[in-house]
């Protein structure tokens, strides 16, 4: 696909082909701090899409701009350049009223609990429910449910002074969730929590995402909760370095593992390989590779079916049909030979491709490379 920017395979863009509504759409977003000569760019040309109901974890070293991006999404800073749509509202040039209205649809969980010392746990949570104008009874039930769910059922009417750090943080989490926000922005929500209550919190996040379609974006360094992420966004120096759909990556890893040469690779290596793969697609009838051409790419079929056609002495013969999870194109790369077959798409196909250099680089790490190579070659006719 000349002319278009290659899309990483792990972005999950092509998964199921389902175009779920986007909670967040960031495009060409730049942000600067300071004025005049002291002006310093904090975000460079960021693009990000987050679907409704997704749980996104943002990682990256401090100063990488992830917090800046989070505050921009949370309407807490003004968008300077580029476009940022949150829940359908364009924030670049949004009015104060738009922002205040939007804020009531958001739930914030900050690193510091920021609870009013003068109010009980219940009353603190209720501050958010009141603002949303929730029905008294509904609000009451939900506050009690959330606090009980977070293990504070017996401390509903305690003031923050009588609660431990972790308990206070859980009250703050309940406050961020009580008004059924469509988007929750959380900064290290589990940092102050022990493993068990941290787990309880993320399980609750998952339930909200599943049952209420609540989108959750959190900044965290807590490795214990990475598994709940649908997507992991890694930022470095104000740029999104990788934006990985976790499920899609695991699918790719499973596929790759079925390739005998990669079978003994560790998951971490496989996911690195997955990161290097790009998306290609084909319409029915398209020739993906042609026999006799030099081999440059290794192909993994994400969806669709292809025919393998070998041309021998001007006689075209279909030798196989490949489907989802199967691969082709490796032989030419291994032996530095031209393609030994032609591949034609039978239906609309999506492939994940790996470049020759990356492919060889991975192979070099495989201990059983030589034997595997023989097996592979032997199994091919």
């Amino acid at each position: 696909m000349p002319g278009t920017k290659p899309i990483p395979a792990t972005s999950g863009v092509f998964t199921d082909g389902r175009q779920a509504p986007k909670s967040i759409k960031v495009s060409k977003l730049n942000h600067y701090f300071g004025e005049g000569e002291l002006r310093k760019q904090a975000l460079y040309d960021n693009n990000l899409e987050v679907k409704r109901g997704e749980i996104v974890i943002m990682t990256g070293p401090s100063g990488s701009g992830k917090t800046t991006l989070l505050t921009l999404i949370g309407t807490l800073r003004t968008v300077q350049e580029g476009s940022l749509k949150v829940l359908g509202q364009e924030l670049h040039g949004a009015t104060r009223d738009d922002v205040v209205r939007l804020r009531r649809e958001l739930g914030f969980i900050f690193q510091a609990h920021n609870l009013f010392e003068s109010l009980t746990a219940y009353q603190n949570v209720n501050m958010a429910a009141e603002l949303a104008g929730m029905d008294r009874k509904v609000a009451n039930d939900r506050i009690e449910y959330l606090l009980a769910r977070l293990g504070l059922g017996h401390r509903i009417h305690y003031k923050p002074k009588s609660l431990s750090g972790g308990q206070k943080q859980r009250v703050a989490i309940a406050r961020g969730l009580v008004h059924q926000p469509k988007l929750v922005l959380a900064d290290e929500p589990t940092a102050a929590l022990d493993e068990k209550s941290g787990r309880e919190v993320v399980t609750l996040f998952q339930e909200l995402a599943r049952d209420e379609g609540c989108t959750i974006v959190m900044v965290t360094h807590d490795n214990r909760i990475l598994d709940v992420a649908d997507r992991i966004v890694n930022m470095v120096d104000g740029r999104i370095r990788s934006d990985v759909a976790v499920h899609e990556t695991s699918v790719i890893c499973e596929f790759l593992r079925q390739f005998p040469l990669f079978a003994d690779l560790q998951t971490s290596t496989l996911s690195e390989v997955a990161d290097k793969m790009m998306v290609e697609d084909a319409e029915p009838g398209d020739v993906v590779i042609r026999q006799g051409d030099p081999g440059e790419l290794f192909y993994l079929i994400r969806s669709g079916h292809v025919d393998v056609i070998v041309e021998h002495d001007g006689d075209k013969k279909k030798v196989a049909e490949l489907g989802e999870g199967q691969y082709f194109g490796e032989a030419a790369l291994l032996r530095d030979e031209p393609r030994n077959a032609t591949i034609v798409a039978r239906s609309k196909c999506v492939f994940y491709t790996l470049g020759k250099a990356d492919f060889k680089d991975v192979l070099a790490r495989s201990k059983s490379f030589v034997e595997e190579l023989r097996t592979v070659l032997a199994s091919r006719t």
């Binding site: 917090t67 989070l70 505050t71 949370g74 807490l76 800073r77 205040v100 209205r101 804020r103 009531r104 958001l106 914030f108 900050f110 690193q111 510091a112 920021n114 609870l115 009013f116 010392e117 003068s118 109010l119 009353q123 209720n126 501050m127 958010a128 009141e130 603002l131 003031k159 900064d187 900044v219």
Partner: protein, 405 residues
């Protein structure tokens, strides 16, 4: 029912609230005292008039205030008496004389310690003293001899009461010198001293002439007119003024004498108050004191509120992030400040009431805690706290939710 956040904040942090309440209380008590003093000035300036029986008053256009009344010819009083609506027209003498502190009965001869003090001396006719209180009238009836005086119990201790504190019945019979002649205290009255003098005494007219020999008796200080029942004071005043001529301070020859001003009772009181509260520095000092107290109160309450806001910056910023408007946050802080004002006001009212009594008893000033003063101070306290609250809002608006992440 919305969460009463302001109230909760005030109730929760007891130490800070106590400091705030103490600050408000301090300022409020200061304001109370200043207003009490001002009220006392007002009251003191007119309390001798309050004891006098008159509907209209004749006095010189040169009258300045009670102790500098100037004089006018006594005939004007008799002229006024000829008017059909006038029931009584009485001359009233009042001047400053010198009172010698009485010698203590046990002090040895040759150790005379009588200091001289300026004293208001009033001259009345003992047969028909122009006083309203019956007690005063009865006591004034005893002034049958020019050597007899009534001493005001509100006179300061330096006038030499026997017990060293206040003139009481113990002082009856004590002899001392008024002006240049010996007098004897025949009774003690309660009149109230003016602001220009620390003591007052009453003698008969001849006694007054002895105490103030520079004033001939056909020159009087006041003419006290009592009208027939049912007569309109304003009409009578106009008729009387027409009879006596338009007052003027110029000495140009005129067909009418024009040396007397006729005033209704309310005018007398109003002018006297204006004189002391507005024209002399005395009232201004207390007005100024109110401003100072307000300023001190604003500073203290601002300090308390802004510390409170600074400590809750994260919480307020969180509320902002949640979508609470600046308007809501401002209303919380202002409610808090008004609550401080109200909580601080109540005990201060009680303390001030005690202080009024204490100061009144000690200084002889008529310190009266009227509901007008109480209401004014309450309004000022609320205003004071609201001002500090508004000053503290600036800090609140700086709460930036972007700093929370």
């Amino acid at each position: 029912m919305k969460t009463p956040l302001a109230w909760k904040n005030v109730v929760h942090n007891k130490v800070r609230t106590a400091v705030g309440v103490a600050g408000v209380g301090f300022a409020v008590i200061l304001i109370f005292m200043q207003m009490g003093f001002k009220g006392a000035v007002r009251k003191t300036a007119t309390q001798i008039y309050d004891a006098l029986e008159f509907d209209l008053m004749l006095r010189s256009p040169l009258y300045l205030h009670l102790t500098e009344p100037s004089t006018f010819p006594r005939t004007r009083v008799f002229q006024a008496a000829s008017m059909p609506h006038v029931a009584k027209a009485r001359p009233f003498y009042l001047g400053l004389s010198e009172w010698q502190r009485p010698q203590r009965p046990d002090s040895p001869a040759g150790q005379w310690q009588g200091d001289w003090r300026g004293i208001i001396t009033i001259g009345v006719d003992p047969h028909d003293p122009p006083f309203i209180p019956a007690e005063l009238r009865n006591k004034a009836a005893q002034l049958t001899d020019p050597r007899f005086v009534l001493i005001d119990s509100k006179s300061k201790p330096e006038f030499g009461p026997v017990n060293g504190v206040q003139f009481t019945e113990q002082d009856i019979g004590v002899e001392t010198v008024l002006g240049s002649d010996r007098v004897r205290i025949v009774d003690v009255i309660t009149l109230g001293t003016g602001l220009a003098a620390n003591g007052a005494c009453v003698a008969n007219i001849e006694g007054f002439a002895r105490a103030c020999p520079w004033q001939p008796l056909d020159e009087v200080n006041f003419g006290l007119i009592v009208l027939q029942p049912g007569v309109n004071a304003a009409t009578a005043k106009r008729q009387l003024q027409a009879l006596l001529g338009t007052p003027t301070t110029s000495s140009a020859p005129s067909a009418k004498p024009a040396d007397v001003e006729v005033l209704a009772r309310s005018e007398v009181v109003a002018r006297e108050e204006y004189r002391w509260v507005v024209q002399t520095p005395l009232g201004q000092i207390f007005n100024f004191g109110v401003w100072i107290a307000l300023f001190v109160g604003v500073a203290i309450v601002y300090q308390v509120l802004s510390t409170d806001i600074a400590n809750m910056m994260g919480e307020y910023a969180t509320l902002k992030a949640m979508g609470y408007s600046n308007y809501y946050l401002a209303s919380v802080v202002l409610q808090q400040s008004v609550l401080l004002a109200l909580v601080g006001y109540v005990p201060s009212l009680a303390i001030s009431w005690l202080l009024y009594r204490l100061v009144g008893a000690h200084s002889g000033l008529p310190m009266i805690l009227t509901w007008q003063i109480a209401a004014t101070v309450l309004a000022l306290a609320v205003l004071m706290c609201a001002l500090s609250g508004m000053a503290a809002l600036k800090k609140l608006f700086q709460a930036d939710p972007a700093d929370l992440f």
